[in-house]
């Protein structure tokens, strides 16, 4: 079985995707990109509780890295086209996750993405976002619909945690791009010191 890094948001999907990876016997390291001050404390609390539940269920330690993503969002908002903000945000999340994977000796990245659920999860945007990294990406829920995911979440006990009150991400633009173009995205990133931004984020990681 392989060792992978899973992006955990606190939402309904990521703990279900993690459940499938653990059920198959993979070793998983969780990474949470902490979006404060564009969210409140609730996503972090939800991820902590998801992992507590799944650690007990699968008798796995599941280390958790918390990375500060708010400063990255501020830099993106100040310097790039808001329309493609979600794709740029995802590219930074993937890059940071890949750095943690290198540190942890992981050979794949994983996410709870399901096709077409939100603006960042169109096929075009997924392709543009993941072009920033090299490791293979596993998406256990890619063909699931929301109802199927919620049914499993209720079965494994993560649904109640995911649906606790919280504040939506305030960094999402009013009209996010659903068809991003890699050339445009690379142009936007030329205005940024990408490596430095990822370094700053990963250096301040906290392991829980």
């Amino acid at each position: 079985m392989a060792r992978g890094v899973m992006l955990m948001s606190g939402g309904i999907d990521s703990p279900v995707a993690l459940h499938y990876l653990l059920r198959q016997g993979h070793e998983v390291v969780a990474v949470h990109l902490d979006n404060r001050p564009f969210t409140d404390d609730s996503p972090l609390g939800k991820v902590v509780d998801h992992l507590t539940l799944l650690r007990t269920r699968y008798h796995q330690p599941i280390p958790m890295y918390v990375l500060p993503h708010g400063p990255t969002q501020v830099t993106l908002m100040r310097n790039t086209d808001r329309h493609v903000g979600c794709v740029l945000c995802r590219r930074f999340m993937w890059r940071s996750a890949e750095r943690i994977a290198e540190r942890e000796g992981a050979t794949f990245l994983a996410t709870g993405e399901a096709l077409g659920q939100v603006a960042s999860q169109t096929l075009t945007n997924m392709r543009t976002a993941t072009a920033a990294v090299h490791l293979p990406i596993v998406r256990p829920l890619i063909g699931f619909d929301k109802h199927e995911i919620e049914t499993v979440a209720k079965e494994i006990g993560t649904y109640e945690i995911s649906t606790r009150p919280g504040v939506c991400c305030q960094a999402v633009p009013d009209r996010p791009a659903t068809r991003s173009n890699l050339i445009q995205i690379l142009g936007e990133e030329q205005r940024l010191d990408v490596d430095q931004m990822v370094d700053d984020c990963v250096r301040r990681a906290v392991v829980l």
Partner: protein, 105 residues
């Protein structure tokens, strides 16, 4: 301080139930740099993300360029107090903006 209070008549729980949104009756562009300076001048910590400000008032509050306000607390009384304070600052900003434009006009 009437103007801002009149613009914001709706305070509603946000979709995920973690905070309250104050929605202006009509969307006007907020002069975020001046609001940032006014808040900072009154000792409030502010994150300036260019298209929005995040102010550490009684409850942390996001103010968008189009005037939408999100107060990150599920406590309605705290949200109302926070909004009242913010609207007071917004009025100060609007008043000094009007005075400046009438001088330059």
């Amino acid at each position: 301080m009437g103007a801002a209070v009149d613009r914001y008549r709706t305070l509603r729980l946000c979709a995920n139930g973690g905070g309250y949104e104050a929605v202006p009756n009509r969307e006007d562009r907020v002069d975020l740099p001046r609001l940032r300076d006014a808040l900072a001048g009154s000792g409030v910590e502010v994150v300036d993300a260019r298209v929005m400000l995040i102010a550490r008032l009684e409850a942390e509050t996001t103010i968008s360029q189009r005037g939408r306000i999100l107060i990150k607390t599920p406590d309605v009384a705290l949200a109302q107090r926070t909004l009242a304070r913010l609207l007071g600052v917004l009025d100060t900003v609007s008043a000094s903006g009007s005075a400046r434009s009438s001088r330059s006009g």
